[in-house]
């Protein structure tokens, strides 16, 4: 039954956000075409114009991706409220399924779309940045090395490491760190989605419903504040790091190990906040389920 709930939730969200992704796809294709055009055919003026157009296309892609994130948020949260607590709720909440399954399906599908929109934004921003650096360097300095993405990234890492006063980690270590940060980001996005679901649910419970739409925003920020505060408090008290090398992830509780790792071209990542955020997410999930089971009303 959970599979069917997830399938229907994903479809329901898809119908709300697909326009955004179509727009992003079209702009992406236009940008690709602009990339493939040989502007040098039009001489020096063509090269300048080409660069300006490429910059504009990249910016347009990033802006579309950013708008995509916002629209995805609005669609996902709007869909949750509409399907659970408006007239559609009379259908959803009379299904013979556990409210935890219902919430889990909504949470999975909402998080999926939010993470997808984040990923699209990151890819667009990072890709555009690399693309523009590569092309502007090629045009301005005619430096062949900058046309090599691998070289470009390595060079960026080297310069950033120099600025931070540490040994530059290898690309493998950076890849491993990026993996951990992605997981952490995904978990935070999931918690964010759940906090919004909790706030929306609470706003349909008397006496919390009295504040209307403002209530939803207030309850969300209250929940967010509690999670962030508890997370940062616990992170200060309990320190658990993952030391990242090219071949292994090692747990450590020592700040000295972290400094040593960065000095030696390794990386370090604090997992305490991720852990505590996950625990708090479970609490918020159970609380939301309890509200759906015991307190919430569908008033259509």
């Amino acid at each position: 039954m959970l599979g069917k709930l997830i399938k229907n939730s994903l479809k329901s969200n898809a119908s709300s956000v697909y326009n955004t992704y179509i727009a992003m796809g079209i702009i992406g294709v236009i940008m690709l075409i602009l990339m493939l055009v040989d502007w040098t055919k039009w001489g020096e003026r063509g090269v300048g114009t080409g660069l300006a157009i490429k910059v504009a296309a990249s910016a347009a892609l990033c802006i579309t991706a950013f708008i995509g994130v916002i629209l995805t948020f609005v669609s996902v949260f709007g869909e949750f409220e509409r399907s659970m607590y408006s007239r559609e709720g009379q259908l959803t909440l009379t299904l013979p399924v556990k409210s935890s399954s219902l919430l889990l399906a909504k949470w999975f599908s909402g998080s999926f779309w939010v993470i997808l929109s984040y990923t699209a934004l990151c890819i667009c921003a990072f890709g555009s940045m690399l693309y523009l650096i590569r092309h502007s360097m090629g045009v301005i300095e005619d430096n062949a090395d900058y046309s090599n993405i691998y070289y470009l990234v390595t060079e960026m890492v080297r310069q950033l490491s120099d600025a931070a006063g540490i040994n530059a980690p290898s690309l493998k270590v950076i890849g491993n760190l990026a993996f951990l940060y992605s997981i952490s980001g995904a978990i935070r996005a999931c918690v964010f989605v759940l906090l919004v679901y909790f706030a929306v649910t609470l706003s349909h419970v008397r006496p919390f419903s009295k504040l209307g739409k403002i209530g939803k925003i207030l309850y969300f920020f209250a929940g967010f504040f509690v999670v962030q505060t508890l997370s940062s408090l616990v992170t200060k008290l309990i320190k658990i790091y993952v030391i990242v090398s090219e071949t292994a992830f090692t747990l450590s509780t020592s700040d000295a190990d972290v400094r040593l790792a960065w000095d030696n071209g390794f990386g370090a990542f604090s997992i305490t906040s991720v852990y505590i955020t996950t625990v708090l997410a479970v609490v918020v999930f159970l609380l939301t389920t309890l509200l759906i089971d015991r307190k919430v009303n569908v008033d259509s």
Binding site: S12, R87, E88, Q90, T94, V296
Partner: protein, 253 residues
């Protein structure tokens, strides 16, 4: 003016030999200062067609929503088909609310597939046949349908279930007199045998011949809860009794 709560007798407190579709004890529900259901208790035996009658705002829809598991902040005990409100009661209860509930993006076939996904007692073939009888295009989207078409679609999917209990909230609410008999025919000829139908309505005259049992609400109380034979033995029609009993209940504070 005080009204009597038991002119035709409240449900007996103990009747272990009978099975009840609904067993309600000390149910209260308020909307702020307005008490809609005030400490009501009643039993409805299984297998009856029950008319849920009462003036506007007397709590009919609230009661149906509580029985369907859509309202939770009430006090008291409610059992539907012998079960507390939950997954099991929802699996055996078919709800036709007083408003349309399918998402606008759905097509007719999506609504049918949705019910088929979740309700084991749903007969998909029957629903498809129904939609063809009703002239509903399987690929037509809800947002392009008139309110009447949406109501038909909702009725056809609900009546394609072989549920133990049907909760029908004003099924004839916005329907013209010509269509009423068609809809009632559909309901009466398609509900599962021995199941219970709770049918809320204002149209007492049109429907009283269909009822086996009548539950009248007013001023937050159960005014009448009895079998149709008991009512008829008074020599009055349900509508006359309705007017008589509800007449007092109309005198809202």
């Amino acid at each position: 003016m005080e009204y009597q709560t038991t002119p035709f007798g409240a449900a007996p407190e103990k009747a272990p030999e009978r099975r009840y579709a609904f067993k309600v004890r000390n149910l209260s529900k308020d909307y702020g200062a307005h008490k809609v259901l005030d400490d009501i208790s009643f039993d409805i035996p299984e297998g009856k067609i029950v008319g849920l009658l009462g003036p506007n705002g007397c709590g009919k829809t609230t009661l149906i929503k509580i029985l369907a598991g859509l309202i939770h902040d009430y006090t008291g005990m409610v059992k539907v088909g012998g079960k507390s409100i939950g997954i099991a009661s929802k699996a055996s209860t078919a709800l036709l609310p007083d408003s349309t509930y399918f998402p606008d993006r759905f097509k007719t076939i999506d609504c049918i597939n949705y019910f088929a996904d979740y309700f084991k007692d749903f007969n998909k073939i029957k629903a498809i046949e129904f939609s063809s009888e009703f002239g509903l295009d399987l690929n037509q989207r809800i947002k392009t349908m008139s309110k009447g078409m949406q109501e038909k679609l909702q009725l056809l999917v609900v009546m394609s279930r072989a549920a133990d209990i049907y909760l029908l909230d004003e099924p004839l609410g916005g329907v013209d007199p010509a269509a009423r008999s068609v809809i009632m025919d559909i309901i009466m000829s398609n509900y599962k045998e021995n199941s219970t139908l709770l049918l809320s309505t204002h149209l007492v005259n049109d429907l009283e011949h269909s009822f086996d049992h009548v539950l009248m609400l007013g001023k937050g109380k159960v005014l009448v809860n009895t079998g149709i034979e008991t009512l008829r033995s008074t020599g009055k029609s349900v509508e006359e009794i309705f007017k008589e009993v509800i007449g007092d209940a109309w005198e809202v504070d």
